[in-house]
Amino acid sequence: MGVMTYAEAARLSLEQEMDRDPRVWALGEDLGPEGGVAGQYRGLQQKFGPERILDTPISESMIMGSAVGAAICGTRPVVELRYADFGFCAADEIVNQAAKIRYMLGGQVRAPLVIRQSVGMRNGMAAQHSQNNEALWVHVPGLVVIAPGTPADTHGLLKAAIRCDDPVVFLEHKELWATSGEVDPQAGPLPIGVARLVRPGADATLVTWSSTLGRALEAADALAQSGISLEVVDLRTLWPWDRDTVFASVRKTGRLVVAHESVRVGGFGAELVAEVAQTMFPALKAAPVRVASPRAPVPYAKPLEDMCRVSADMIAAAVREMLPADPSGPLAGT
């Protein structure tokens, strides 16, 4: 085991996959000299050469389109789109090509590629550099969507994404790049579609992913002070999501809160809540709740930006609100 940052874990993971499989290569802007916007490619061009770590022009359509072409012809590209906001510049190639080429062509080919997009708010990056677009990708048939929240998960899930034969959208949070955690450098891929029960609890289930995980755990700590036991599930894979883990948890607690940084309206939380309500309505003791961003672009000024954040306080308040007034009373034994 060792402690490393989220960026370093991602770098190590890609390095190991490139060592393992000569068909794996990466393309995108600024990968070589500086090693990517967060150092997540540092040293890889020096090691693997400029063909396998390809520095591209600012040509998102072609970065993505050519990756699809290369994926259906025997290679396994890792596409770096820098910020999820520029994923929109490549949305046509992602949605109309990568996601459905296997299907449209009657299963003749697969498009095994990874589409890395760093998401989320960080220190005043404003409206065109702070977006979380996960729900859009989940909505597109053909795509797998992964959003790791820790260095170890980034390490294991990037490996899994690279080995996956489906196109995978891999969402890395800007705010997490510099955070560190325990990683087993020898660890293999983690299974796609398996959530992690981060903290067991009895009174309510909190489902979250990516950087909101940290806030969820803070909320759980705060709630524990008042005797409320929150179970925290890190979904990790948004599509296909781990129904078994989420359903089992909600069956146990009877209460569901979903927290995510992306916009609440039409967000992925809505899908989770709907599925839970539809599947296990009788098991619910309270209406499921979503804690997420307001439907506004992300503003620049700090006090305004903070209005769009999901805080630990907001999560804790949502949990308190769905519990009966006196936690020591009716809650006991439930």
Binding site: E29, D30, I58, C89, A126, Q128, Y300, L304
Partner: protein, 329 residues
């Protein structure tokens, strides 16, 4: 070739003041980021001031410009108030965008500045639309679109060049080639003869200038804008230059050869025009006085910004849309 009349000393002094203003504003923008007063991305225009200055000297107040992520210089040259810009940079009330946009989205429609932009080269696409509107509304304006060399390889730029030529739009494209796209040497990923050829292949009139020579930029912009105003359709100015600092204010630019940086700093557009002015008989002291006056004005702009309050929180949710905005959700 006809001999072009040399510009008047007064005009050049005005351009000198403008370049000094842009430089001082962006030097302090970098400091604001370092000290945590500004946030996010701040792309300084230091070293490239002659281009915005020379081009905008040929634009009327009613003309439009569109810019890109390195947009402070274009804004100031187009007449945007540095006080409103400094407030925007610090995310304060009274910022040109109410503190909601920051450096990368500075805009002031009252000055015909349609916006910096965070996406390469979306400002150019918007400029094409602005020119389309000018034509539809039979207005007496032209549009200038600034972009970097990094934009040369994105599809929308090709679409814009074709479009502007097909519809003969009143649009001046200005490519500011500072050799780099973030940490990448643009030449390493650009095929063919590069920036000018891109436009020529669409049959658009072009000029190439030394972008560190404000007189050359001014003269070329004068010719091209006159042509556009005469209904000659789009034109393209290709200006070579160099940014002194990193891509972002906190980028140390380690991927550049220090000798290269030094050689370009020696071609400083401000030092050059000062030498020219002195040759014209302008007093050194007068130039120093300009620089000092500019410094005082920019100091005051940032001082006013620091003193301004942060926007009220409810503004996070204003101006999203008329119907179905955040309150409705």
């Amino acid at each position: 070739m006809t001999d072009k009349a040399l510009p008047t000393t007064a005009r050049v002094l005005e351009m000198h003041r403008m370049m000094c203003t842009i430089r001082e504003f962006d030097e302090q923008a970098g400091q604001a980021l370092d000290s945590g007063l500004a946030r996010g991305s701040v792309h300084q225009y230091v070293g490239e001031e002659a281009i915005a200055t020379g081009v905008c000297a040929n634009l009327a107040a009613t003309d439009y410009i569109a810019s890109y992520h390195r947009g402070h210089g274009h804004s100031i040259a187009k007449g945007v108030d540095p006080v409103g810009m400094a407030k925007e940079l610090l995310g304060r009330t009274g910022g040109v965008c109410g503190g909601k946009g920051g450096s990368m989205h500075i805009a002031d429609f009252s000055r015909g500045m349609l916006g910096a932009n965070g996406v390469v080269p979306d400002g150019v696409s918007l400029a094409v639309g602005a020119a389309q509107a000018v034509k539809l509304l039979r207005q007496d304006r032209i549009v200038a679109a600034f972009f970097g060399d990094g934009a040369l390889n994105r599809g929308p730029l090709f679409e814009a060049l074709n479009w502007a030529r097909v519809y003969q739009l009143p649009l001046l494209f200005i490519c500011e080639d500072n050799l780099y796209s973030a940490t990448q040497r643009t030449g390493a990923v650009t095929a063919g003869p590069g920036g000018v050829a891109r436009a020529q292949s669409f049959d658009i009139v072009t000029e190439t200038v030394d972008g560190n020579d404000v007189l050359a930029v001014d003269a070329a912009a004068a010719r091209l804008t006159a042509r556009i105003r005469d209904g000659g359709g789009p034109a393209y100015l290709y200006a070579t230059t160099y940014r002194w600092y990193g891509h972002l204010a906190f980028d140390k630019g380690l991927y550049r050869d220090p000798a290269e940086v030094k050689s370009w700093r020696e071609r400083d557009c401000i030092a050059r025009i000062e030498a020219w002015l002195i040759g014209r008989g302008v007093d050194k002291a007068a130039l120093a006085a300009t620089r000092e006056a500019v410094k005082r004005a920019i100091d005051a702009a940032y001082e006013a910004a620091r003193a301004a309050p942060f926007p009220d929180k409810h503004h996070a949710f204003t101006d999203v849309q008329d119907i179905g905005g955040p309150a409705w959700a």
